[in-house]
């Protein structure tokens, strides 16, 4: 009997999602195909499965045998593609003796001292957290070091080496920095998180809704509009969900507002007028940062709704419930999902019971009104 502990199966609409423990991949399969894999992993012989399939589909046995062998080969091959990690021994890396910038950030009752060896590393991190900056503090709870060595950005937390990233992978350094922050803020290790989603989390006092969409679709702008209209920004861009209660946890970073949204938001946020503008030339982006209105960075709320949002000039407001298979395909490649089996099971269970919507809008008032209805579970689902 083959070991079948490395798969998870979850029916979703008319398909079955299959998760592979060895590679942390999710496959969207036809139900019959998932069933074949299930039986193979239970040790049922190819011939026996092929006979049943041949009968079911009224196809000659030799064709179904070929089919199953081919399927087995393809699926098993696809899980062994894990990249080998480039190993390096960083123990000999010498930490700089001088750090050009040292910042102190206060989050809840924690004080983070972060030292940056130069302006380059400072700007990778500081703009998003500048609103949390305090003057020099004596009650430092955690000490982060960020420095450049041999074109790699090195990151240490409380004297422990966390990682090193090249310029090409710098968004992973930023992600890790955020991950270390939430681990300290919420007292949870990496294995206690179900996943981190690239979304905006908007909340009321009871729950939160995740807004998703490709860059440029207006996620952050919608979030800024909503937080000016009675909702709270629980997290922007980096949305962690814990495995224990499947709650979205607060992430204190500022909301990045692209240049072309500044005009829309100025009447609501006059402070944007004079806030610093950052040019990210590599991505052709000019952004300003807006403070989140959340004041309780301990907070965490359940989430049962995903909204794919799109700002489209001159469009009428459209809202509809969308296929979850479609939503799954959008969500997974853009998220970090814990590779642990227990957490993958929780992710599948959570996804199975949430609602997925798509909103296209140009009128801000109508969008806010629609989101309010989703919060009240008062939306026409067609």
């Amino acid at each position: 009997m083959k070991n079948n502990t490395s798969f998870l199966y979850k029916p979703l609409e008319d398909k079955t999602i299959t998760w592979f423990e060895n590679s942390n991949k999710y496959l969207v399969l036809e139900n019959t195909t998932a069933d074949i894999l299930k039986r193979l992993s239970k040790g049922v012989s190819v011939e026996e499965i092929a006979k049943a399939l041949s009968k079911k589909l009224n196809v000659p046995l030799d064709k179904t045998i070929d089919f199953i062998l081919d399927l087995e080969k393809k699926i098993y091959a696809s899980k062994s593609t894990k990249k080998s990690n480039f190993l390096n021994d960083y123990r000999d890396i010498e930490k700089p003796t001088y750090f050009e910038f040292t910042k102190f950030y206060k989050i809840n009752n924690l004080v983070f001292k972060v030292a940056f060896s130069s302006e380059y590393e400072l700007y990778l991190v500081h703009p998003k957290f500048a609103h949390l900056e305090i003057e020099n503090s004596e009650n430092i709870t955690h000490e982060f070091l960020v420095f450049l060595n041999n074109k790699y950005v090195f990151f240490y937390v409380d004297k422990n080496f966390i990682g090193a990233w090249s310029n090409k992978d710098i968004h992973y350094f930023q992600g890790k920095f955020s991950m270390e922050l939430i681990q300290k803020i919420h007292q949870k290790e990496e294995h206690e998180w179900m996943g981190v989603f690239h979304a905006s989390a908007v909340s009321n006092t009871e729950k939160t809704i995740l807004f998703l969409g490709d860059s440029g679709n207006g996620k952050s702008t919608s979030l800024a509009l909503l937080q000016a209209n009675g909702f709270t920004c629980l997290a922007d861009d980096f949305v962690p969900i814990a495995n224990k209660n499947i709650h979205v946890y607060s992430f204190p970073a500022a909301i990045s507002i692209k240049k072309n949204s500044v005009e829309t938001l100025l009447p609501l946020y006059p402070e944007l007028q004079n806030s610093a503008e950052y040019h990210f030339k590599r991505f052709n982006k000019i952004v300003r940062y807006l403070k989140p209105n959340n004041t309780d960075f301990y907070s965490h709320l359940p989430c049962n709704d995903l909204v794919f949002i799109k700002y489209e000039k001159e469009s009428d407001l459209q809202v509809r419930q969308i296929s979850k298979i479609e939503a799954f395909q959008e969500l997974v490649p853009d998220s970090w999902l814990s590779p642990l089996k227990e957490n993958a099971q929780k992710f599948l269970d959570w996804f199975h019971q949430i609602n997925c919507y798509q909103i296209t809008y140009s009128n801000n008032t109508k969008m806010i009104d629609t989101v309010s209805k989703i919060f009240k579970n008062n939306i026409d689902k067609n």
């Binding site: 930023q174 992600g175 690239h198 861009d237 395909q329």
Partner: protein, 55 residues
Amino acid sequence: MNNKEQNNDTISRKEAIKKIGNYSKYVSLTALGTYLILNPQEAQAQSPEAPGTGF
């Protein structure tokens, strides 16, 4: 002669349906072998917003 050859090439509607019917069996097998692989990010990431030469 030509006509005869042409007649040999064409088949009746009934025959055509029968022929497609035979192949359509395999269509269901092909559909079963069609699937989508989704890879989550291997590490936590933030939106790519690295400074360029602007700093």
